[in-house]
Symmetry: C2
Subunit: 315 residues, 2 copies
Amino acid sequence: MPERLGDPLETPLFERVAIIGIGLIGSSIAHAVRQKNLAGSIVAIDRDTEVAARVDALGLADAIFSDVAEGVKGCDLVILCVPVGACGPVAKQMAASLREGVIVTDVGSVKGAVVASMEPHLPAHAHFIPGHPVAGTEQSGPDAGFATLFHERWCILTPAYGVDPAAVARLQEFWEGMGARIEFMSAPHHDLVLAITSHVPHLIAYNIVGTAADLEQVTQSEVIKFSAGGFRDFTRIAASDPTMWRDVFLNNKEAVLEMISRFNEDLAALARAIRWDDGDALYDLFSRTRSIRRSIIDLGQETDAPDFGRRPGKD
Amino acid sequence: MPERLGDPLETPLFERVAIIGIGLIGSSIAHAVRQKNLAGSIVAIDRDTEVAARVDALGLADAIFSDVAEGVKGCDLVILCVPVGACGPVAKQMAASLREGVIVTDVGSVKGAVVASMEPHLPAHAHFIPGHPVAGTEQSGPDAGFATLFHERWCILTPAYGVDPAAVARLQEFWEGMGARIEFMSAPHHDLVLAITSHVPHLIAYNIVGTAADLEQVTQSEVIKFSAGGFRDFTRIAASDPTMWRDVFLNNKEAVLEMISRFNEDLAALARAIRWDDGDALYDLFSRTRSIRRSIIDLGQETDAPDFGRRPGKD
């Protein structure tokens, strides 16, 4: 686990925060809010009774609701941590119960479709500021969260023109309190950036794991045994939450399909270089890609240790 | 670093081992041979004078040669740790100097092409047993090696029909002494298995890092900043040694192109599922892939810790 966050605030930023959907992200926010005293009280809302029971057992919240409309009452910050396909329906359910001046935000990996599905339902007195913390692990559920998940990770906010700057500043302070850095972007640009940095990488990871599982010339047992040659790296993100990722692809269709096309064009060129024995073309690309990893490490977004510092079979 | 190996042998398995090419694999073998007393003396052979100087400074060998024919004299085990494209030329250079009954092996990620290029040069009195330890990190050079690199990793041996079983048993014992597990396979089957578990994963990792670097709608700085969404995972194997990987693709062309075709067919089906809003097809695949990672972890080939247990920016 990364280091702990700084000291708790003396005065919380919000009176009462509602977290809707207590998975990896929702539970991590709960841990961080509690640890940093970012809100006076935490309301956890989840329609899954097993999840609600775990939230209770883990002591993640001051109050637990299954009903969204009930849960958000009196909250001055509401954070949707549900799969992006559920954001519209949840916004509709809670709309009539939202307190005057509430900040409504989300953590979805897609912004355009989330804005389109939520905005029509929200009352004019709510400040809607879509958000996306670019952080996570391959694990999911209320037990997977931890307070430092957002530490030194970027959180992208995509407020529309005209949103109250004071509300934006408060939400920024909230995320910075959890250790994140803030970047502002338009929703369409966010969706393009994430298509290449997150969505297509997940898709090709899922895809190659599927391809390997379905081969008739190589057994699944061989794929598993000899996975240390590179394949196992892909299985990590291919172990991510299926519902969340189904919704991401269905809701960022255009940008994902565009980036897949680019990927395919480049892969066709590489395959041709292999077929035609063009070793120079291969060497050129393989040299260029090293420097990008170096930059990611230098920016503190990746470990410098060989092999991610992992210790297979030892944890 | 993983745990240390077991106790050193009382009597070495070999009198004098020659390691040709002192990169990550060659230097790791040197460390492990020394630590486990697997050979009476270690001869390091590298034509690169800077590498030879590092080998000297690190104390990796008892003798250092730049000339292959000189270096292998008197050795009863010779291990080629050079890029697979160099194996044929190196075999030719050393052929006349090989001691009676020597075991000649290699560590290349391709076996068919290596056998075809080496075998014609080797004298009948040498036991040729091609090998491939499925282990590595993204780092390269004589400083990158460590004694436990092969620990609990598979080493695949592909001896031809009729090779002396006693020689094979000695080489097996040597690898097991370094902590590896042994699997026997035909060279063509090896090349198919590695195409899907290692070569194509590397190719698509190199490819997506290249695609991301070349986009005009998303800046390289954005790709780097938001890489924690999944992209950064791919940069690790895309930081592997360019010469080694160029040679792998040029020498396992048929199997790699076949596996790329499979990958492309599956990716086209996934893209179609996205285009047609077929959420069930996406969910089905995304659920199936989780169990493969579980099996890899259960077999001790991967860490159980979330996010590979990595701590970005902390190492």
